[in-house]
Amino acid sequence: MEPYGITDQPLDVAALSAFVADPAAGAIVTFLGTSRSSSADATNVERPVETLWYEAYGPMAAKRLRVIGEEARARHGATRVACWHRTGEVAIGEASVAIAVSSPHRAEAFACCRDIIDEIKRSVPIWKRERFTDGEEWVEGYDGSE
């Protein structure tokens, strides 16, 4: 399988985990970002979310996932990395992003996985749209400023 990509199909974390498995690795860390059933509005009031929808600039998003994953892998000395993000409608409780990292010891795998999800939220061109009982809106995200 391809270690990095964008798909409109449900994510298969078992496949990612199998991809990063390696005899040199003593740890595999996986992360799933899942869609939540409520979202805070501008006044910090939680509103129930009916459905979530992701749009991506597909070709650039796939490139960014690869760069982020491979840079983090090199920085932490991890063994293998795989990361996919989903687009289209994602039902509540389902995964929108899946990451798997293997490394010789667990500390590097945890740190590498965390760096990857943090950087995805900063610099992968993907946008979340939430539908509430009373309307829908794009979620305000990270604009590149420090």
Binding site: Y57, I120, K121, D143
Partner: protein, 81 residues
């Protein structure tokens, strides 16, 4: 010169189109293109300041000079993950 522009998420909603072709002076920067887009699509004006640009699928600072035939994506604040 001519560049292709892609709009995403709230920028696409505001522009009312997902792609556009813009005729602009040779050597124009991303900033100059954004200024032009605000005139072409007035509803974009208040979302553009928060948008980043990508030129041919890579982030590009607003000072980047554009070349004929390039594709510029208008990227609102990202919210993936």
């Amino acid at each position: 010169m001519r560049v292709r522009v892609l709009f995403f998420a709230v920028a696409r909603d505001r522009a009312g189109v997902s792609t556009d072709t813009v005729e602009i002076e040779d050597g124009a920067t991303v900033a100059a293109l954004f200024a032009r887009l605000a005139v072409m699509h007035p509803a974009l004006k208040d979302v553009l300041p928060a948008c980043r640009a990508a030129v041919d699928e890579a982030f590009a600072p607003h000072a980047t000079q554009l070349a004929d035939g390039q594709t510029v994506a208008v990227l609102p604040p990202v919210s993936g993950g």
